[in-house]
């Protein structure tokens, strides 16, 4: 018993010392209340040098945390107990956050650099007049294919994937909206369709694709396509860009039937302790030169018109990643379909996954 008490006391003392040291270290580096900015972002989605530059210019210390899905991010912010000053969710998650009253409106007078954003990407259905959010990056969903592996065939449409010659060649992302959207688009329906008949039709069409599907995977899809585990993948444009940097045989195409156009926007959660700094950060990231540097690092498409002037002509004239208005007008943004419809999408997707090969 005596030994136990002694051990317990030792543990308590050590913990206490550690807490004090951590606090001391934090305040020595300037991480004290009122002078920090906590950013909640996707993994590897910002040039870290820019954070250092922001710290230097403003004297604000940045704490950087990451998430790997909109759902995980939503759950964390909904539960409270966090104090994120900036988060970067996708459009349907923003719609949800606005409805659940989780965001602070953005004071446009504090973000003068907003003028550099392409009007095409402002005032969209999920956030009218950009009251709560500011565009960060955007992109599409499409097909990445390896020309060396599948022969010199040009894939241009979703329907091409159903070709029997691609047996066991296709990897798709494990996302109900993306996969059901692909099938709906290939049938000529909207990827926000809520007509049950159309959805069942789309699911049955997906069943026919099973012989061609090698696997349904998560983030590994990037590595698997890079290492030529399969020749074709259903991916987001940014993932495709990263694969193309590693493997020159890979091509990316946005299918002609239409596809998804997505946005990741910067928002200020209600739990923010330092909205002033959050506005400063948003304005900083919208500066054309900084946005250009960030885009070159991340590889997704920037909505910042001013930034394009600082970027490589070759990059911004690449129709695959900077499609013109004619193509983007054919693309659709995911709408928040509500919990019940989303569950129905997922049920159908689950049934499709269970369809025997």
């Amino acid at each position: 018993m005596k030994q136990l008490t002694r051990a317990l006391i030792a543990v308590l003392i050590i913990s206490l010392i550690l807490i004090i040291t951590v606090n001391k270290l934090n305040s020595a580096q300037g991480y004290s209340g009122g002078n920090t900015l906590t950013i909640f972002n996707w993994g590897d989605y910002i040039d870290q040098d820019l954070i250092k530059r922001f710290e230097k210019e403003t004297g604000i210390k940045v704490i950087y945390e990451t998430f790997d899905s909109n759902e995980a991010m939503l759950t964390k912010i909904e539960q409270g107990g966090t104090s994120y000053d900036i988060a970067i969710p996708s459009e349907y998650a923003i719609d949800k956050m606005i409805k659940e009253n989780l965001l602070i409106p953005i004071d446009h007078s504090k973000v003068p650099n907003l003028k550099y954003i392409d009007p095409r990407f402002m005032d969209l259905s999920f956030d009218p007049k950009n009251k709560y959010s500011v565009p960060y990056f955007w992109g599409t969903v499409g097909i990445a294919y390896n020309k060396a592996m599948i022969g010199d065939i040009e894939i241009t449409s979703w329907d091409d994937l159903w070709d029997p010659k691609f047996k066991n060649q296709i990897l798709i992302v494990d996302g109900a909206r993306e996969v059901m959207g692909m099938s709906l688009n290939s049938l000529g329906y909207s990827l926000n369709d809520t007509n049950e008949k159309h959805l069942i039709e789309a699911k049955e069409k997906l069943d026919l694709l099973t012989p061609n599907i090698k696997a349904i995977v998560g983030d590994e899809i990037r590595m698997l396509l890079e290492t030529e585990e399969a020749g074709i993948g259903l991916v987001w444009s940014g993932v495709a860009q990263e694969i193309m940097w590693e493997n020159e045989d890979v091509e990316y195409v946005v299918p002609e039937e239409g596809s998804n156009l997505w946005f990741d926007n910067m928002v200020i959660p209600k739990t923010s302790k330092n909205p002033e700094a959050a506005h400063q950060f948003i304005n900083f990231m919208l500066d054309p030169e900084i946005a250009a540097q960030n885009t070159e690092y991340v590889g997704y498409s920037t909505p910042n018109k001013g930034a394009l002037e600082y970027m490589d002509e070759e990059v911004i004239s690449d129709e695959r990643f900077y499609p013109d208005e004619e193509l983007t007008s054919k693309l659709e943004v995911y709408e928040n379909l509500g919990k019940r419809m989303l569950a129905y999408y997922n049920d159908l997707f689950l049934e499709f996954k269970m369809h025997p090969k």
Partner: protein, 267 residues
């Protein structure tokens, strides 16, 4: 006085069990009666008995059964040989060592090994068999699962074999039993307890495997664990996820009861 202070020591344990075992189970049960919009309903249970989920139950049990079977087939002889070696504890340590490594890390390693250009396929090439698709097949799923669960099967069997009194085997031999009869009538019945607890420790987690189904089987194998993960993280249909969890809890209790029963006979 003495029993009083003993009861006092029980308090932290009771609090622990109450907070982290009983409450969560009750919460799971509670949530299983609510639909996605938070209305009280028993639809989740009705939905559970539709063909989609029945097929999923069947799949889960079938794969868990195969994983347990193959683990047992490999583990028993291994454990038996282990008891015959000189440095038992060292060998045992070497077998347990891989279970200290993070599961995700091992899964990623297997993606590399089983990939089209991975080590396994280069070996098949050299052997003249030619490369085959290994990754994203039932074979690779069961292989990796067995690899991961093997230490948990070996340990209890090894302990049972180690405790076996060697004079019983000598007696059996002296009385003219063939080695096979000795194994069948003496060794195996006496180590049955170890086999049972090994099977429990493997079968129950195998029933709700989820990460491997995506990483190694490429979502070509859908188990109840996958469905729970999806309901909680993606659709946020906590009710349906809880319903599946309730079913899994019931199944596990049943397995425990069934495999634990005959213990009395041996004791």
């Amino acid at each position: 006085m003495k029993s009083n202070s003993r009861n006092l020591y029980l308090i932290p344990y009771i609090i622990w069990i109450g907070l982290f075992v009983v409450t969560p189970i009750l919460l799971v049960l509670y949530y299983s009666f609510f639909d996605i919009e938070g209305h009280f309903t028993i639809d989740n249970y009705k939905k559970f008995f539709t063909p989609v989920y029945l097929k999923m139950i069947f799949n889960s049990f079938w794969y868990a059964f195969l994983i347990t079977l193959f683990s047992l087939i490999i583990a028993y002889p291994t454990a038996y040989l282990l008891t015959k070696t000189k440095h038992k504890q060292l060998w045992l340590l070497l077998i347990i060592l891989p279970s200290w490594i993070n599961l995700l890390l091992k899964a990623y390693a297997f993606i590399g090994i089983f990939g089209t250009y991975g080590a396994a396929n280069s070996f098949l090439e050299v052997m003249g068999i030619g490369s085959k698709q290994l990754l994203f097949t039932d074979f690779s799923f069961i292989f990796v699962s067995v690899y991961i669960f093997l230490p948990f099967m070996i340990l209890p069997i090894f302990n049972a074999l180690d405790e076996l009194n060697p004079s019983l085997i000598d007696a059996s031999n002296d009385l003219g039993a063939s080695p096979w009869t000795t194994f069948r009538r003496v060794i195996f019945p006496l180590t049955l307890d170890g086999v049972k607890s090994g099977c429990q420790v493997v079968f129950i987690p195998a029933l709700s495997l989820f990460m491997l189904t995506r990483l190694i089987a490429g979502n070509r194998v859908i188990t109840l664990g996958t469905a729970i993960e999806q309901h909680f993280l993606v659709t946020q249909d906590w009710g349906m996820g809880s319903t599946i969890a309730v079913f899994l809890i019931i199944a596990m209790v049943l397995i425990m009861v069934l495999t634990g029963k005959r213990k009395r006979g041996i004791l």
